[in-house]
């Protein structure tokens, strides 16, 4: 028998197989139990040793070459089938992916978190108080008696209600009543900031009837104006992340402080916006009013239940919305309270922008 010819014939048929099914049929035809090559192998048993010696290797070689050819052809056909499938599974990845909504943190909240972080490092806790206040806490205890012209400086929203002690109820005009509440509740020494909503009957391009203020209060022994200046400088440098913040202190008047100090900060105009830094007297610079402050008036310390001969300290108040605008570049206060999603998405912050001292409290644009 011409094993070589049988082999060539088999290999040719294997090579001609075009799919896995026909290849499998060939495998059965050649190598299955009843297969032609399997049949040849079975003839070996009936052969003489000599004959087996010469014929055996030929049959084995035949079987091996066919097996190999089948395997190779199978792999080739499988690869082709996979290629065809993948080609059919092509998709357009320029189509949009599923959208996940993107949330945002309001700039006021972000800035309040920044303030809490900075002041915590200086040992200040955050204190709060009611926004619906009585006139004793909002005015009288802060050395603004009924007849004081300074009451007229605060355009106060009143309620028709009186509390159980007959005090007129109103919307707090500043965060300063928290000074009184903290002193009465916690005694001294005190280091707090008190952020929150405040209200004045005022509405124009730069004023809204509701806005945010943060109060600072330090009551201790031996506290003086120099400590106030350091605290404000340190805070502003940390908040604006600039070492060139320059403050200008001017004497002023607030009933609850004595001496009272208005604090200006130097700025320059860059790309049409005010950028803090540098002395206001430097070329191309100016001063802008930033906050009011002073040494807490003795009468206020006494109203807080503390002995003004023993304790003294300073207080300051600053507009939160305003420093948010200065830092992050918004120019319309009214937009803060509109809830316009486009504005919130643009000026709001990622929830992951948690202010930390090690990374800098600010969230870069």
């Amino acid at each position: 028998m011409d094993y070589a010819a049988t082999g060539e014939q088999a290999l040719a048929r294997i090579a001609a197989a075009t799919d896995l099914d026909s290849l499998e049929k060939l495998r059965v035809e050649f190598l299955g139990k009843q297969g032609s090559i399997s049949g040849l192998l079975k003839t070996l048993g009936a052969m003489s040793p000599d004959e087996r010696q010469t014929t055996g290797p030929k049959i084995h070689a035949l079987r091996e070459s066919v097996t190999e050819a089948l395997t190779a052809r199978k792999a080739g056909l499988e690869q082709a089938a996979l290629d065809a499938r993948l080609a059919a599974e092509n998709i357009d990845l320029s189509l949009p992916a599923p959208e996940a909504p993107r949330g945002s943190i309001h700039p006021v909240s972000q800035v309040l978190d920044e303030l809490a972080e900075i002041f915590a490092d200086m040992g200040f806790a955050v204190a709060t108080g009611p926004e619906i206040e009585d006139d004793w806490h909002n005015f009288t205890a802060l050395n603004i008696p009924e007849s004081h012209p300074a009451r007229a400086m605060h355009d106060t929203f009143y309620f028709p209600d009186k509390d159980a002690e007959g005090r007129a109820m109103l919307l707090r005009t500043h965060t300063s009543p928290v000074q009184i509440r903290s002193m009465l509740r916690d005694g001294a020494p005190i280091r707090i900031i008190a952020p929150g909503r405040v209200y004045r009957s005022d509405s124009d391009a730069t004023h809204t009837p509701m806005f945010h203020q943060v109060e600072g209060l330090v009551i201790d022994k031996g506290i003086h104006l120099g400590h106030l200046k350091w605290t404000l400088e340190t805070f502003l440098k940390a908040f604006f992340e600039r070492d060139d913040i320059v403050l200008r202190l001017r004497p002023s008047y607030f009933p609850f402080t004595e001496p009272s100090v208005e604090v200006d900060v130097g700025f320059a105009i860059q790309n049409g916006k005010r950028v803090l830094g540098g002395s206001g007297d430097a070329p191309g610079h100016g001063w802008m009013e930033l906050l009011g402050s002073g040494m807490v008036n003795r009468k206020v310390i006494a109203a807080g239940g503390l002995d003004p001969d023993e304790w003294q300290g300073f207080a300051f108040g600053i507009g939160v919305d305003r420093i948010a605008m200065l830092k992050y570049g918004m120019d319309d206060l009214r937009a803060f309270f509109d809830g316009d999603v486009r504005w919130l998405q643009h000026y709001g912050f990622s929830p992951l922008d948690v202010p930390t001292l090690s990374a800098g409290v600010g969230a870069a644009a």
């Binding site: 949009p96 599923p98 909504p101 949330g103 943190i105 309001h106 909240s109 978190d113 809490a116 915590a120 200086m122 040992g123 200040f124 806790a125 955050v126 009611p130 926004e131 619906i132 007849s147 012209p149 929203f157 009143y158 309620f159 028709p160 509390d163 159980a164 109820m169 919307l171 280091r191 909503r197 009957s201 509405s203 509701m210 003086h224 104006l225 120099g226 400590h227 200046k229 350091w230 605290t231 340190t234 202190l249 001017r250 004497p251 002023s252 008047y253 004595e258 001496p259 208005e262 040494m295 008036n297 003795r298 003294q312 309270f337 809830g339 316009d340 999603v341 919130l344 709001g348 929830p351």
Partner: protein
């Protein structure tokens, strides 16, 4: 408070420039709001002589002038003024100059085809007067080419904000005194002669209200002529922003603005009998000089005669007895009024005036005679006449105060060491007296100074408060300690959790239109409603965060938004005890309109439903540390919600931690919103605080050695049975083995009897040491089926 440099120099001998003066005013606490320098406004305008004037070739009313500007080469200028003629000396605005009246910049241009190199100006164009009939005509000897500002002698005007504690600086003289103390010159003495008077005052003057008017000084001047005040006085008054009226009125205003001393001049002919201070009677009326009628009450002090009220004391005179052109005899009133009374009266009448501002802050009680002398002297000079003797009814308060002080306080409180001698010199320059032991005598014009801290302020502000050196606050050792309270930590965490879930944080007004607040007020004892809201839209304090968010949603929808996720974390304002407020930290969220827009993969847009609100509520409560697995879903979310698509989440039957669901169509209609809105409100104050000190180590945990197995159960139940009840029952049926139960199908229809539904639950079983065998699994299944049966649930075959 506005005044010109020349006015200041009446009282201050100084060579300082306007810039130096402004800088010093700022440094010593007299805040300069502006310095208006007329020279700046007039930059680019110069004196020019018209050489020739020819008819304009193309316009009847225009002329073509040749003008000498002093530069040698005459300029051609087109001019429409009828008085323009050769030889006229006028004011030319050159190209580049900005016309003060119109604010426009002059440019070289062609007017009807003829080139014009500037504009000859009228008084009105330069903001110098109302004359616009023709161009300005200057004297023939005016120097050609000179800057017009220099020719005019432009006088800078300071606008200074005076804080309410400084009534002494509501006069130019007081400002001069502060500047002198700061080393900017020498304070000039007040030049005034006392005039004794040649006859007794013919009008009786008295004070019948010594509380409201402790002192009323007065005198009569006969035979005055009340024409226009002199030009210098008019210029001063104009620089202060006042309109000159007549000599007598201008003189009282001038003395007020110069010395902070208000006074009033009555036309004696309009008075009947005695003139006196008294309390007004309830229901009395007076027509004031501003032309308005005021209703008075018995709490107000007035100046009256026997016929009626002539003056709201210390605030505004009456129309009836005011001085006019025909006034010949005048009665001068220089009084001291109680500051508190003046303030009360002014507030009640809602009437403010220059006099009120000074009296309510406290005028110098020792300046009545000097004020009267100043007025007398000016009236005699300007209006002529004959002076009576002075009548002094009552006595002004002495105002004398002594404050114990020690110079070391400058350092202790002010943080700046100032030599004793320097402190003494400053105080003396400000008019303070002092004994050897530093008992400081406060001048009568400083009602604001009554303690050592005030003296520190005086010394430090004149020394220069900006010279105070920074001193670090003492710092505790080591890393800063945490300061946030649990509530603050909760607030911060929740805010960021909500934003991380895709919600946008809004900050909305605390006040609402009353109707919107009313719609959300429920069982809290009434709204807080403002007595004096700024508008009806901002009247009632919000009892819920939802209305503000709904209003914001409407605005966004009106701007074209199709889907919104908004939240706010803030207070809602309820009634507390003792008449106080009860302000509760609350998180509100609204999910409005489209949850997902139409998409190539997802098909049509999906709108939010109540389950979206539930998901937010549960996720945020979990972040807040609430025991969400133990919460019950119960009804009664409130009338603002869809009754069938809303619920509360409660811890126990009473404590409501949150409400959520679809809002009621009536609410949406009221807010003019036409898309479905799901809402959540989380009551953060109701979330129980973690007990005990915080620990950092978590509870011990070992991963189970064997894999969990799942089994599905389908039950037929009454259609009204809340699925959550069944799930909770199944989960609790065998606590040793069942670790989770998850509902995955709620089916009604074919194969399910009417009035029933089929609920399918996937139960997760966690084997312990060894795998379950068939018998064990069967026993667990029986427990589950038995527990479910108590709810009427039947295992589906």
């Amino acid at each position: 408070m506005k005044f010109s440099l020349s006015w200041l120099k009446d009282h201050l001998d100084t060579t300082a420039s306007a810039e130096e003066i402004a800088a010093t005013l700022n440094a010593i606490g007299l805040e300069v709001e502006g310095v208006e320098n007329p020279a700046e406004k007039l930059a680019g305008f110069r004196i020019a002589k018209v050489l020739t004037a020819e008819r304009h070739p193309n316009a009847d009313k225009l002329q073509v002038l040749s003008v000498d500007t002093g530069d040698g080469q005459p300029l051609q200028v087109v001019c429409g003024a009828p008085n323009a003629r050769a030889g006229l000396m006028g004011v030319l605005g050159l190209p580049g100059a900005v016309v003060p009246a119109g604010g426009f910049e002059l440019k070289k241009s062609a007017i009807r085809g003829v080139e014009s190199n500037g504009m000859m100006c009228s008084s009105r164009e330069l903001d110098l007067g109302d004359d616009h009939a023709g161009i300005i005509e200057l004297p023939a000897d005016a120097p050609v080419g000179m800057a017009f500002a220099d020719y005019q002698g432009a006088d800078p005007v300071f606008d200074v904000a005076i804080t309410p504690n400084r009534p002494d600086c509501m006069g130019v003289y007081g400002i001069a005194r502060d500047l002198a103390a700061a080393g900017l010159g020498t304070l000039k003495p007040i030049a005034v002669q006392s005039v004794n008077g040649s006859f007794d005052c013919p009008t009786e003057i008295r004070t019948d209200d010594p509380e409201g008017c402790p002192a009323f000084y007065g005198r009569v001047i006969r035979g005055v002529s009340n024409g226009a005040s002199p030009e210098w006085m008019q210029a001063r008054l104009k620089s202060a922003g006042q309109r000159p009226i007549s000599a007598l009125v201008d003189i009282t205003n001038y003395v007020m603005l110069s010395f902070g001393r208000p006074a009033h001049a009555y036309d004696l002919a309009q008075l009947t009998g005695a003139i006196f201070a008294r309390r007004a009677q309830d229901g009395e009326h007076v027509l004031a000089l501003n032309g308005k009628e005021y209703a008075l009450d018995a709490g107000m002090t007035v100046i009256a005669d026997e016929a009626g009220v002539h003056d709201i004391a210390g605030i505004m005179g009456g129309e009836h007895s005011g001085c006019s052109e025909t006034t010949t005899d005048v009665l001068l009133e220089v009084a001291y009024f109680d500051p508190v009374r003046i303030g009360d009266t002014g507030r009640k009448l809602n009437l403010t005036s220059d006099a009120r501002q000074r009296f309510e802050r406290g005028v110098d009680p020792a300046f009545l005679d000097k004020g009267l002398d100043l007025l007398t002297q000016l009236i005699l000079e300007i209006c002529g006449g004959e002076v009576s003797r002075v009548v002094r009814a009552g006595t002004p308060p002495s105002g004398a105060k002594v404050v114990p002080y020690h110079p070391s306080l400058a350092l202790q409180l002010g943080g700046v060491a100032i030599a004793d001698e320097a402190q003494k010199a400053t105080l003396a320059a400000l008019g303070f007296g002092m004994d050897a032991r530093w008992n400081v005598i406060v001048p009568s014009w400083r009602p604001d100074v009554d303690g050592a801290a005030d003296i520190v302020e005086e010394v430090v502000r004149i020394h220069g408060i900006d010279n105070v050196e920074s001193v670090p606050l003492p710092r505790t050792d080591g890393v800063a300690r945490p300061t946030a309270t649990p509530s603050q930590k909760l607030e911060r965490r929740l805010r960021r959790a909500a934003a991380a879930r895709g919600l946008n944080e809004a900050v909305t007004w605390s006040f609402l239109p009353e109707a919107e607040a009313e719609a959300f007020a429920e069982g809290n004892g009434g709204l807080w409603v403002l007595a004096n809201p700024i508008s009806e839209d901002m009247k009632a304090m919000r009892p819920s965060l939802l209305p503000g968010l709904l209003a914001a949603s409407r605005r966004n929808l009106d701007r074209g938004a199709s889907g919104l996720r908004l939240f706010e974390l803030g207070r809602r304002y309820l009634r507390g005890d003792k008449g106080h407020s009860d302000e509760r930290l609350t998180l509100g969220a609204v999910l409005a309109g489209e949850k997902t827009p139409r998409g190539w993969a997802s098909g049509k847009a999906q709108v939010f439903d109540a389950y979206d609100a539930k998901a937010e509520a549960l996720a945020l409560l979990a972040e807040a540390g609430a025991p969400v697995d133990n919460l019950q879903v119960m009804a009664e979310a409130g009338a603002q919600f869809h009754p069938g698509q809303s619920a509360t989440l409660r811890l126990g039957p009473k404590t409501v931690l949150a409400r959520f669901g679809m809002l009621h169509p009536a609410i949406l209609k009221a807010f003019d919103i036409d898309v479905p809105v799901a809402a959540v409100e989380l009551f953060l104050d109701a979330i129980p605080a973690k007990r005990g000190a915080p620990t950092f180590a978590r509870a011990a945990y070992a991963t189970p050695p064997l894999q969990a197995v799942t089994r599905d159960f389908a039950f037929l139940v009454d259609a009204a049975l809340p699925a959550g009840d069944l799930v909770r029952t199944v989960r609790g049926a065998d606590k040793a083995n069942v670790v989770a139960a998850r509902l995955f199908d709620d089916f009604r229809g074919q194969g399910v009897p009417d009035g029933q539904k089929s609920l399918a639950i996937e139960v997760t079983l966690q084997p312990g040491e060894k795998s379950y065998d068939e018998a064990e699994l069967k026993a667990i299944a029986e427990k589950i089926t038995a527990a479910a049966a108590k709810l009427g649930a039947v295992l589906r075959g």
